[in-house]
């Protein structure tokens, strides 16, 4: 996974601050993510890592600082923002599939309504994507009929159907039973191999080790460390990171 980045970075956060009332959830965060790069964000709960992930497609507006995506500053609410969001895939902790639509309809809604693709073409590509994430045989079922791992893979296919330039993962395996974590991480790993730009908030240290180009460690809203995974796990520089790793790796 070396030398994947080329040209100017795809996502740039510069001096980003975010307050929830008196709570300073993002404290002067600057970060750039290159094209094809896989950045894994870890840290204790409440450290602001999910918020960081959600600011990138402006599901969470920021208080100050700038975020640019593909050279353009994030637009304010409106058509331009909707267009930007269509280019950034997002996968949520709780899947958030549309409960009243079949798996295939979940996957084709965006392409048909946002991109105005022909339903037949969207359907064909949707089925191919479902096949890629290994649930083609579930296409006509409703989300509630699927296991958590299948639902999350469907959610990944739904995001991929928009042919996004980057994918954001907000704790994609945290709501899954342990035996289903692997099937979701496998899909994410294959995406990373194919050169997708990814920002992944996770507690899966194994995924961070083998799939990430960089590991970001956050604590108290600050970006504390930014290093390749081998370096970070072998030699964390900050006390906060050492403390965090000792807590999660001893079990």
């Amino acid at each position: 996974m070396d030398d994947v980045t080329t040209g100017e970075p795809l996502i740039v956060l510069d001096g980003v601050n975010k307050w929830f009332g008196p709570l300073h959830v993002l404290d002067d965060v600057s970060l750039s993510v290159g094209r094809g790069e896989v950045v894994v964000v870890i840290g204790p709960s409440g450290s602001g890592k999910s918020t960081l992930c959600r600011t990138i497609n402006r599901l969470e507006p920021i208080s100050s600082g700038t975020i640019t995506f593909d050279g353009q500053p994030l637009p304010a609410e409106g058509k331009a923002l909707a267009k930007l969001r269509s280019e950034v895939g997002m996968v949520f902790q709780s899947f958030n599939l549309f409960a009243h639509k079949t798996i295939l309809e979940n996957v084709t809604l965006g392409p048909v309504k946002v991109r105005k693709e022909k339903p037949a073409a969207a359907r064909e590509r949707g089925l191919a994507l479902l096949d890629r994430v290994g649930i083609a045989n579930q296409a006509d079922k409703y989300p509630a009929q699927l296991s958590g791992g299948q639902q999350q893979r469907a959610a990944i296919a739904r995001a991929l159907a928009m042919q996004p330039k980057a994918m954001l993962f907000d704790e994609p395996t945290s709501a899954l039973d342990p035996e289903m974590v692997g099937e979701v991480l496998d899909v994410m790993t294959s995406l990373a191999r194919d050169g997708m730009t990814m920002v992944v908030v996770t507690h899966e240290m194994g995924f961070a080790r083998h799939a990430a180009n960089r590991v970001i460690f956050m604590a108290d809203g600050q970006l504390v460390e930014d290093a390749p995974p081998t370096e970070f796990f072998a030699n964390p520089r900050s006390e906060r990171a050492k403390d965090f790793l000792s807590k999660i790796l001893t079990h």
């Binding site: 497609n57 599901l59 809604l109 995001a159």
Partner: protein, 235 residues
């Protein structure tokens, strides 16, 4: 019990008039309730305040008082509610156009009162759609309108339909009040007419009008149960 057979046409006439006022009031309450619901979930604070005030007033006032206001307040303001003499509609619902305004007044009271409950049933449906789904729709690039149309409303409707049905059933029963506010010939006023004016025994007459209300409410309740069961499968 012979009154049920001897006076069948009177019961049938009462049933028909009660059915008319219920159909009209249900249509009016659904429309007005939807408007108030949109106000209440609107992002514009003054509109929200108007919607909230409406619900607070009409949900918390006894229907009898609303009826008093309609039956005595409107004439005091010089209105006979003539705007309800809707051409076309008054072919089927002939009472809309009679010179005695009490049918129209009762209709207005029933609509105003029921709309507050309709609004809350619709709103509870919107709140029942998990916020994460709307977020997922936004992250796909759907606009606010597309989000409502393709993701939120189709699901909120499903969550609203059963509470809405309960609101309408309550409204049908509430319509029994109209006979005490000048409406002649609905089911409840029929009972009064047959017992106090024509001297029939009370219990058979009460059974007769009860059957009339049950013919309207029981099938509606059964329909709601079916809808609920079908939704349980889809969920």
């Amino acid at each position: 019990m012979s009154v049920l057979i001897d006076k069948f046409d009177v019961f049938a006439g009462g049933f028909w008039l009660t059915l008319q006022i219920c159909v009209l009031a249900a249509i009016g309450a659904l429309i007005l309730g939807a408007v108030v619901a949109v106000l209440r979930i609107s992002p514009v604070p003054p509109l929200r305040a108007v919607g909230t005030a409406y619900v607070n007033i009409f949900r918390n006032m006894p229907l009898t008082v609303v009826m008093f206001f309609a039956a005595f307040g409107l004439p005091a303001l010089g209105s006979n509610a003539d705007f309800l003499r809707i051409p076309g509609l008054d072919v089927v619902f002939r009472r809309l156009s009679t010179d005695l305004p009490y049918f129209r007044f009762a209709l207005i009271a029933l609509v105003l009162y029921t709309a507050a409950f309709v609004c809350e049933a619709l709103r509870s449906g919107v709140n029942a759609v998990p916020a994460g789904q709307a977020e997922a729709a936004r992250s796909l690039g759907l606009t606010f309108g597309q989000n409502l149309r393709y993701v939120v409303l189709p699901q909120s409707w499903k969550a609203s339909v059963v509470p809405l049905g309960s609101v309408i059933i309550a409204m049908i029963k509430n319509s029994a009040l109209v006979g005490f506010f000048g409406v002649v010939g609905d089911l409840s006023q029929t009972a009064d007419q047959l017992t106090s004016a024509e001297g029939y025994a009370f219990i058979p007459v009460a059974i007769g009008i009860s059957i009339g209300y049950l013919i309207m409410t029981v099938p509606l309740g059964a329909l709601l149960d079916r809808i609920e069961k079908r939704q349980a499968v889809a969920r």
